[in-house]
Symmetry: C2
Subunit: 308 residues, 2 copies
């Protein structure tokens, strides 16, 4: 197996200035594995759902080459549910409802056929659950990437630091980087955070793109300037899934290839925000993706051959 | 004459978390012309100062190839003075003192030998003064660029729109673009603003880089991630001066060359913030500049040859 994703498979209900959904399928694990399935044919997901979770979504994930043997289905229990409302600027949101349900007691089980995966993506979850997954693997993957949130910095910082010490790549946003490091400058923040464990750091800056810190190098990936962000839910997970899917499928962890992976993740994330939930993610063709990547190339490309 | 800059030549007193200055030389016109002098040997500045302005600064500007015949020296009057204090994040500041002095009655005079300049840079000033300069030129320059601020949007929006209708390039920051267009999305904001006149728009995003809108194209220039911003005063003017200086010296207004000009301006601005006021700007060597530009190339460069 190429890649394992650990993360929530859940229901979301979303309100944006453009509209509002009933309960739809969401969750970090769902977005990550659907996004990475664009690149990876042979991956697995470790998660937990309640008996209310639709079988057709699980079937759909399987049809995308995602092995779902690691999704526990808890009879008599309910799937994790999150509901939120985005503000007009789409950059901030209020959480309306969080029902942990099955996620509250999630004890990850790694199927035997997942055990020797080369790549591991830890989606946003309680850091002790993330750590259990690492500990329960017989062989350490070649590369472990981790997403997390300010929520865990607020309530479980020591646990978070223990898990961070075990991973290779940390993917967080700029606010989280500042909170975690207590430094405003992202260059200084990166130094502090990388000293905590992850040698590679990706700082997502939303509409301002992303920074990749790798060895002595920094790469600045643009975000595609968009007329409209319809629904930002899952964009960060889609980015992470695209990034790790690209790395896993190319099996190359060099800086040059990680830059490509950041662009691939950014391209997929730029689709994700065009519709509610995972809808747009499930429609992307190879041609769509290639066209989108060309836009990133055009956006960032310059030749300094005419210096004064 | 290659380039004319119009803008304040002034005194600033600055407080940052790193220290504080007495009255030092500042002003949009000063930063712009010193920055563009890195590229342009034959330029002029149109401005006004009081009798308190140091002759050695004027001599220094002249030594940089800046023709100062357009600077009026008002006997018995005082130079424009601004004082401000930056907050800890260096992204916001409070104005402590604004003394308009000679700037309050500034009536720009264009010397005869400035009249046929190819390029015109209108630094941040009252939009009716900016417009007078355009009207007082015998020949329209090949390219007119304009900087402005939210201050003029608040108190002189109609005047501002009249001037905007006459220029080719508008250089503003993201907040100003949102205020001017009443659109949050910068892509939508750009459409609204470009419909007001300027066919080319540069939106500066501080630590997040800059966007160049030109025809159907968008270019996203990164900002250099910095450990420390010592003093941001004049960074935007330095960017504008570097941009127009590069354009004027290469005499090429194509999109490809404007991308280079944006990088050149960004590189000079990244020096500007390293010391108080114009100090760092006066020290930059060709070698410093080339090294800095290489950093921008490394930061933004990627090759998507290994697509999935």
């Amino acid at each position: 197996m190429n890649l394992i994703t650990v993360g929530s498979v859940a229901f979301d209900a979303i309100e944006t200035p453009f509209g509002k959904t009933d309960k739809i399928v969401g969750g970090a694990g769902t977005f990550i594995s659907l996004s990475s399935s664009f690149f990876v044919q042979n991956q697995g997901i470790v998660s937990v759902v309640g008996e209310d979770f639709p079988q057709e979504t699980l079937d759909f994930m399987r049809s995308k080459g995602i092995n779902i043997d690691g999704i526990q289905i808890k009879q008599g229990e309910k799937t994790f549910f999150w509901s939120g409302r985005y503000h007009n600027d789409m950059n901030s949101r209020d959480t309306l409802v969080t029902e942990l349900n099955v996620l509250g007691t999630f004890d990850p089980v790694i199927p035997t056929n997942f055990q020797r995966a080369d790549y591991l993506m830890l989606g946003n979850l309680s850091p002790d659950v993330q750590r259990k997954v690492i500990e329960r693997l017989e062989k350490r993957p070649k590369l472990i990437a981790m997403d997390t949130m300010n929520f865990w910095m607020d309530i479980a910082l020591d646990e978070l630091k223990k898990t961070m010490a075990l991973v290779d790549v940390l993917i967080i946003n700029d606010e989280e980087a500042r909170q975690l490091s207590k430094e405003y400058s992202l260059v200084k923040a990166a130094k502090v955070i990388r000293a905590m464990g992850p040698k590679i750091l990706i700082i997502k800056k939303g509409e301002h793109g992303a920074l990749l810190f790798h060895g002595e190098h920094i790469f600045f990936a643009p975000a595609l300037p968009l007329e409209e962000v319809f629904d930002p839910t899952g964009a960060g997970d889609t980015f992470a899934g695209g990034f790790m899917g690209f790395i896993a499928s190319t099996d190359d962890i060099s800086f040059e290839n990680m830059k490509r992976a950041v662009i691939a993740g950014s391209a997929l994330a730029s689709f994700c925000v065009e519709k509610f939930g995972t809808e747009r993610l499930t429609e992307i063709t190879k041609n769509d993706f290639d066209e989108r990547v060309s836009k990133f190339v055009a956006l960032a490309n310059f030749e300094m051959n005419q210096l004064a």
